[in-house]
Symmetry: C2
């Protein structure tokens, strides 16, 4: 149960877009990739997934790039991870499942929902704010 680099990349990219949201200008894949040290051809795939999920919009052609589809405070981390990890396929677990299986899955579901609740409580805006706060702290203690 580890944060996949896939998810991390997606979050970092969206965080970058969130920081740029006020300008209304699109950000290019290359730029995001360079800033966050993400392989650009891989990031392209991730952004395509996020676009299909309706989290970002793309603008084609010269001067194009990517934009958040909604305000940063209206995009929860749960949405991002669900999109990129493909949680659309919630296996409905067959009715042939044993009693034990049902109990085990029930508990797992509960744990999952606890994690989801935390992730649902954070938005991209929150992350951007946290990052800024951390940076201030770093400057304070700078030697």
């Amino acid at each position: 149960m580890q944060l996949s680099t896939k998810s991390e990349y997606a979050l970092l990219a969206l965080l970058e877009l969130a920081g740029h949201y006020a300008t209304g200008e699109p950000l290019q894949i290359r730029q995001i990739a360079a800033d966050q040290a993400i392989p650009d051809r891989y990031l392209e795939q991730l952004l395509a997934t996020l676009r299909r999920s309706g989290l970002v919009r793309s603008q084609r052609g010269a001067k194009g790039g990517y934009l958040l589809a909604r305000e940063p405070w209206n995009i929860s981390l749960l949405e991002v991870l669900s999109s990129v990890e493909g949680l659309g396929t919630q296996a409905p677990l067959p009715p042939t499942a044993s009693l034990s299986s049902l109990v085990v899955h029930g508990v797992w579901r509960e744990a999952q929902e606890a994690a989801d609740t935390v992730l649902k409580g954070y938005t991209l805006q929150d992350l951007a704010t946290q990052r800024e706060a951390k940076q201030q702290a770093d400057i304070m203690y700078y030697i």
Copy 2:
């Protein structure tokens, strides 16, 4: 973020052992595998892992098999999953990580801990009790 069959098998096997705990007699791999519909050669590996983690004891030779190493109410689900998924390797994330990365990992950690808290709160005994309750309910509504 799905329950791996690996983890499910481990939990099912231990649940079976928990149900048999009162007798003090060991259960054989074959029997557990048959009861819970688990490939026996695969279950063998999982039980070996659980033994190395100190969750079960094995008794070799004829009339041998596996036993819980502790009482069912003293084994939390978190312990089981940690053992089988190998969470000993918590990547300490390099100090070269960007500010954004740190923030992202922090939130992820928080979500993870929420899930862990739930799993820590359940013991094998609890699952066995739940299963029994479900069975009673099934009998009630039996047509």
